[in-house]
């Protein structure tokens, strides 16, 4: 199976050539590495490469996506397998479009400012959500029509949960 990886949007091929215990030989975008990689705690890897010691922390976003932290930097990584390629080829540009409003963190819906079926303009605030004593406004990115409102004012929500769908 052939894989690619997207790191902060840049896609390159990736392949494990050999593995022996913790030691692996890998080809990334044509560059070959021999490294010693060990998951020391769940999601925390210790890597030794040419003597240097690296600590890499992974926070899975879904089963193919990670937020990755090193000492000084953060990255978004996504594994691209045959399935992803197929899905991407089918979706075309559609996933660029905003199809729903969600929040990155859990919180509580404070106010819903629109009704189902309402036409909304780019930049209009649709919903405000509070978390940790701070209220945030969530806006629509382009002219849309409100399809379904999935939550009620006062309701507690999870992070990344669709709140309002758009069409």
């Amino acid at each position: 199976m052939s894989f690619e990886i997207s790191l902060d949007g840049k896609v390159e091929s990736i392949e494990i050539l050999n593995q022996n215990g913790n030691t692996i030989e890998v080809l990334v975008g044509g560059r070959k590495y021999n490294l010693d990689i060990l998951e020391v705690e769940e999601g925390i890897y210790s890597i030794l490469l040419e003597g240097k010691s690296y600590n890499v922390e992974l926070t899975p976003v879904d089963n193919k996506k990670y937020t990755v932290h090193t000492l000084y930097n953060s990255f978004d990584a996504e594994i691209i397998d045959a399935e992803s390629r197929y899905m991407n080829s089918r979706k075309g540009d559609i996933d660029e479009e905003q199809s729903f409003i969600s929040t990155p963190m859990p919180g509580k819906v404070v106010k819903i400012l629109v009704k189902e079926g309402q036409e909304v303009k780019a930049g209009e605030t649709l919903v405000t959500v509070s978390a940790m004593k701070m209220e945030s406004e969530y806006k629509v990115s382009s002219d849309k029509k409100v399809k379904d409102i999935l939550v009620k004012e006062g309701e507690n929500i999870d992070g990344n949960q669709p709140l309002i769908t758009l069409e």
């Binding site: 790191l7 692996i24 990334v28 590495y33 925390i44 690296y54 990755v68 963190m105 919180g107 940790m132």
Partner: protein
């Protein structure tokens, strides 16, 4: 003598108070809301009582519920921490009425200092310098023009009942006056139900410097020197240090005397903080008094060598202060940073949620006051402060290096935190030089934004790690049917090899 203290708070400050209780042989009782059953303060306390739903106005802010628990568990005293009921004069009164010791000042002191105009008047009477401005609420908007032109532009219009930047307007030009005062009044009305505003001269490039005071019930009052709190983001302190890098011994002595005078003016008896606004020429003006323990109290504890909570409890017990002003000194330099569950790369969006791993910074000169643990789910209802890191070193430069080392070693996986942002502050040139004012964060965005400095090699290491983890999970799922159940193959491999080596 106090034998049991109810701590009417949560998070790091509840635990910090309980630590001192334990050292003093005093029992501690926790209260907890529906969201806090698994919170560390419940586990750390000797006793714990449920007080209601998660929102604080149904639990931590309900005076009747707190008092009921105190009576039920026979607590002699209540420590309010900071925030919540700590500066609520009604609560202090209620405690007194119920025969429970409120570990804090009298309701008179809280009330006097809580209203800005009343506080200004009292400070003027006590001879404490205040920012030039008005001492009475502005009644007539037209009259404001003359007053403001007398004081001299620029000025700040402030709500008398205000705080946190609400009901404030900066006026730079004469033609802005009427609109500005009107806006401040209506904002004050909306925010505090009181449209009283007053006018203060606006201090350019201001420094925020505060003095810690301790006063007992026998009329003794001392100060424990200053804290420099100018590193602020949206009027919230982010980094504090002591001594202040701009302070001189002469000005320190003067300000300390005024801080003591300010506390005495309201018959203060507990730990309190006098905040001053200071300009580049070290002209200083009383800003307000915080009639409670401050978040940043540990840097004073470290440099002066006192336990401020212990002092509060001793004062509440009616003891005389054992510390003498002329025996106190500042030893070395301490810095505190506040670690929030916020995403510094995404407009400081709150980031509650499950804490997967923590590696705490240890070693020489590091104090850590926190409350989260691995597996803890940080609730969305309360303040995003997860911990405070306090370092000490003989010199300021060494303290900055130590803070950077501690932040380097501090890992919290699962939620976003401000750790990278704080680390970047340590590298801002004006911070390094100790030449900064409250504009430091807005003026140094270029140093504070995340920069991707990664080499191709580091990027490849990141790609490889993500890929290895992905492959591990796939293979685990294939052989096991349950991705969650299996530790990754690499992990197993590492562990097994370790075991074999044994």
């Amino acid at each position: 003598m106090i034998k049991k203290i109810l701590v009417a708070n949560r998070g790091e400050i509840a635990i910090r108070v309980m630590r001192t209780c334990r050292e003093m042989g005093i029992e501690s009782a926790a209260v907890f809301s529906e969201a806090d059953r698994s919170s560390m303060h419940v586990r750390f306390a000797d006793e714990a009582y449920f007080i209601g739903e998660a929102p604080s106005n149904e639990s931590y802010l309900v005076i009747d519920k707190i008092i009921a628990v105190a009576k039920r568990c026979k607590a002699d005293a209540i420590h309010p921490g900071y925030g919540f009921l700590s500066e609520n004069a009604d609560f202090a009164d209620r405690c007194e009425k119920e025969g429970i010791i409120f570990i804090g000042p009298s309701s008179f002191a809280i009330n006097t200092m809580g209203d800005k105009i009343t506080a200004r008047k009292n400070m003027l009477k006590a001879g404490v310098p205040v920012v030039p401005g008005t001492s009475e609420p502005i009644k007539d908007i037209k009259e404001a023009v003359g007053l403001i032109m007398d004081i001299g532009l620029p000025v700040m219009v402030k709500a008398s009942a205000g705080g946190g930047g609400k009901g404030m307007r900066l006026i730079k030009e004469e033609n802005e006056i009427i609109a500005g005062v009107s806006a401040a009044k209506s904002e004050a009305k909306a925010a505090f139900g009181n449209d009283a505003v007053y006018i203060e001269k606006y201090i350019n490039s201001p420094h925020h410097i505060e003095f810690q005071v301790l006063a007992d019930k026998h009329g003794n009052c001392i100060h424990l020197f200053e804290r420099e709190c100018s590193v602020q983001r949206r009027h919230q302190k982010v980094v504090e240090e002591t001594p202040s890098p701009i302070m001189t011994p002469e000005v320190r002595a003067e300000m300390g005397k005024y801080a003591v005078a300010a506390a005495k003016a309201v018959n203060y008896a507990s730990a309190g903080t006098i905040e001053f606004i200071v300009d580049d020429d070290l002209n200083y003006y009383f800003l307000e008094m915080n009639t409670r323990l401050q978040v940043e109290h540990p840097i004073t504890e470290r440099v002066v060598g006192v336990d401020l909570v212990k002092e509060q409890i001793n004062i509440a017990n009616g003891k005389k202060l054992s510390l003498k002003q002329d025996e106190l000194t500042q030893n070395g330099h301490a810095i505190e940073v506040r670690i929030y569950a916020e995403d510094p790369d995404n407009n400081f969006m709150p980031s509650p949620g499950l804490v997967k791993h923590i590696t705490e910074p240890l070693g020489l000169g590091v104090r850590h006051d926190g409350y989260i643990y691995e597996g803890y789910n940080i609730p969305m209802y309360y303040d995003p402060l997860v911990s405070k890191l306090i370092v000490w070193a003989p010199t300021r430069n060494e303290a900055i290096s130590r803070m950077k080392r501690a932040l380097f070693a501090y890992k919290i996986v699962g939620i976003k935190t401000t750790i990278p942002f704080l680390s970047r502050i340590m590298d801002v040139p004006s911070f390094r030089k100790g030449k900064y004012n409250t504009h430091i964060i807005q003026d140094n965005q270029k140093y504070l934004e995340p920069k991707n400095t990664a080499t191709q090699k580091i990027k490849d290491v990141v790609s490889i790690t993500a890929f290895v983890d992905y492959i591990n999970k796939i293979e685990a799922a294939k052989t096991n049917g349950k991705a969650n159940a299996v530790a990754s193959k690499w992990k197993m491999c590492g562990r097994t090899r370790n075991m074999n080596r044994l």
